[in-house]
C-alpha cells in the first residue's frame, strides 16, 4: 500500500470570457503535470475554462483570520472611493 500521500494542489481556471483565473478547488496529484491533467478532468468537463493554473497548496501564504480587523476595517470609512459617493446633477449627463 502507498504510504506516501500525494501533495495537494490549488486549481485556478480562466473561463471563456477573458476574466482572471479563478480559484475553483483543489486536488491531489504526484506532480504539476498530473495536477493539470486531473484538473482538466475534474473542473472543466462542461467547458468551464480555457486555461488552468496549478499551484502547490503549500506554496500559498494566507492572511491570518485574526488579522481580519486591522487588514480590512480601514476600507470601511472610505466610502468616497465609490463613484456613487458623489452627487452629479442630472443636467450634466452620464458620467
Amino acid at each position: 500500500m502507498t504510504k506516501k500521500e500525494w501533495p495537494l494542489w490549488e486549481i485556478f481556471i480562466r473561463g471563456q470570457h477573458g476574466l482572471n483565473h479563478r480559484h475553483v478547488g483543489s486536488l491531489h496529484a504526484p506532480d504539476a503535470e498530473m495536477a493539470i491533467r486531473n484538473a482538466r478532468d475534474v473542473y472543466t468537463r462542461r467547458k468551464e475554462g480555457v486555461s488552468i493554473w496549478v499551484v502547490p497548496s503549500a506554496a500559498i501564504t494566507a492572511s491570518a483570520p485574526s488579522e481580519k480587523g486591522p487588514l480590512f476595517d480601514p476600507a470601511e470609512s472610505k466610502v468616497y472611493r465609490h463613484p456613487t459617493f458623489f452627487d452629479i446633477p442630472d443636467e450634466v449627463g452620464h458620467m
Partner: protein
C-alpha cells in the same frame, strides 16, 4: 441521506459556553461562513469530518451500482450519458474529500476508514441494480433524494463544505433528469419495459425514503448540528418534501408508488405515506444489506490493485524532480 445518522458532539446552552464558543455560535447565527483556519469548537470540527467524510464515501461507492450497467447500456448514447454521470460522482467525491481535508484529516486516512468499515456510506448503495430500468430509478429517485438534502446544504456554515455543495448541485440536476428520461422511455415502451420500470420503482421506493434517515424529531445530535448549520432540515421534513415532489412525477409516468396508504392530505397540504421498514435500514447500516460486502470488496480491490499505479506516478514525479534539480545545478 448521503450522510445518515451522523453523531454530533454534545449540545450546550449559551450560558454553558465559553466566550469563544459563544462568539462562534453568534457568528453562525448571523450567517457568517466559517473558514478553515478560524477558531471552531472541537465538536464542530469532528462532526463535520464525520459528515463530509460519509458524504464523500457515498459519492464514490455510489458509482458502483451504476458502473454495473455502463457496459450493458442499450445504446451508445445512453452509455456515454451514464459514463458522464458516474464520472461526475467521482468529482463529487473529490470536492467533498477536499473539503474534509481542510479540517485536518487526510484523504488517505478517510479512505482507510472507509475500507476498514470504521466510516459508513449511504445505505442506498447496498441495494443491487438488477435491470436497465434501475438506472432510471436511481437517477430519478436516489439523485432526487440527494438533491433534496444538498440544495439547503449550500447554505451550510462551513465555507469549504458550502462551496463543494454549490458545485455539486450544479451537476445533480443532469443526474436526476437523465434518470427520469430513462423512466419515461421505459414507461412508454412495450408492456414488458413498463413492467421493468414499475419493478424498479417498487424496489427503490422504500430504500430511497430511508436515505433521509430515521425520524430525528427528538434527537440531540440533530439539534446540535442544526444549531451549527451543518444540518439544515430535519429528516422528516426532507422526506415529506421528497414524497410530495415525487408522487406526481410517478403519476406522469403512469407508474404506481408501492404504498397502498399513500393519500393526499388536503388539511396538511402534503401526502400521507407509509414509513419504510426501519429494522431493514438498521440491518443495512450494520453491514447486512444485500450488497454491503460486494461494494466494500470492490472498493478495497480498486484501492489495492491501483497501488502499483499510484506508486509508479509517485516514483516518476520524484525522479523527474531530481532530474530537474540536477540540471539546475549543472546550469549554474
Amino acid at each position: 441521506m448521503y450522510a445518515q445518522m451522523v453523531k454530533s458532539e454534545g449540545m450546550k446552552s449559551l450560558e454553558e459556553m465559553s466566550p469563544e464558543e459563544r462568539a462562534f455560535q453568534e457568528r453562525v447565527d448571523r450567517g457568517d461562513k466559517i473558514e478553515p483556519k478560524e477558531w471552531m469548537p472541537e465538536g464542530y470540527r469532528k462532526t463535520l469530518i464525520r459528515q463530509i467524510g460519509q458524504h464523500a464515501h457515498s459519492e464514490i461507492v455510489g458509482q458502483l451500482p451504476e458502473g454495473n450497467w455502463i457496459t450493458r447500456a442499450p445504446t451508445l448514447e445512453r452509455k456515454a450519458i451514464l459514463l458522464a454521470k458516474v464520472q461526475d460522482e467521482a468529482g463529487h467525491g473529490l470536492y467533498l474529500y477536499s473539503a474534509a481535508e481542510t479540517l485536518g484529516v487526510s484523504r488517505d486516512e478517510l479512505m482507510e476508514k472507509l475500507h476498514s468499515g470504521a466510516m459508513k456510506y449511504s445505505s442506498i448503495f447496498n441495494y443491487p441494480t438488477l435491470t436497465w430500468a434501475d438506472m432510471g430509478a436511481v437517477g430519478w429517485l436516489v439523485d432526487g433524494a440527494a438533491i433534496m438534502n444538498q440544495v439547503p446544504l449550500q447554505r451550510t456554515s462551513y465555507g469549504p463544505y458550502s462551496r463543494a455543495m454549490i458545485r455539486i448541485c450544479k451537476e445533480e440536476s443532469f443526474h436526476q433528469r437523465q434518470g427520469y428520461a430513462i423512466m419515461m422511455k421505459m414507461a412508454q415502451g412495450t408492456p414488458e419495459q413498463k413492467e421493468m420500470a414499475q419493478d424498479a420503482l417498487n424496489r427503490f421506493w422504500y430504500p430511497s425514503l430511508m436515505m433521509f434517515g430515521p425520524s430525528d424529531k427528538d434527537s440531540v445530535h440533530s439539534a446540535q448540528s442544526m444549531a451549527w448549520k451543518i444540518k439544515m432540515n430535519t429528516n422528516d421534513e426532507l422526506r415529506q418534501k421528497f414524497v410530495d415532489e415525487t408522487v406526481p412525477q410517478a403519476e406522469y409516468l403512469g407508474l404506481t408508488v408501492p404504498d397502498e396508504t399513500l393519500t393526499w392530505n388536503e388539511a396538511r397540504g402534503h401526502y400521507d405515506f407509509a414509513e419504510p421498514d426501519w429494522s431493514e435500514f438498521f440491518e443495512v447500516i450494520k453491514g447486512n444489506g444485500p450488497c454491503n460486502e460486494e461494494r466494500l470488496g470492490a472498493r478495497r480491490e480498486a484501492w489495492d490493485k491501483g497501488a502499483w499505479f499510484r506508486d509508479g506516478l509517485t516514483a516518476y514525479a520524484e525522479k523527474a524532480a531530481a532530474r530537474r534539480a540536477a540540471s539546475n545545478v549543472a546550469a549554474e
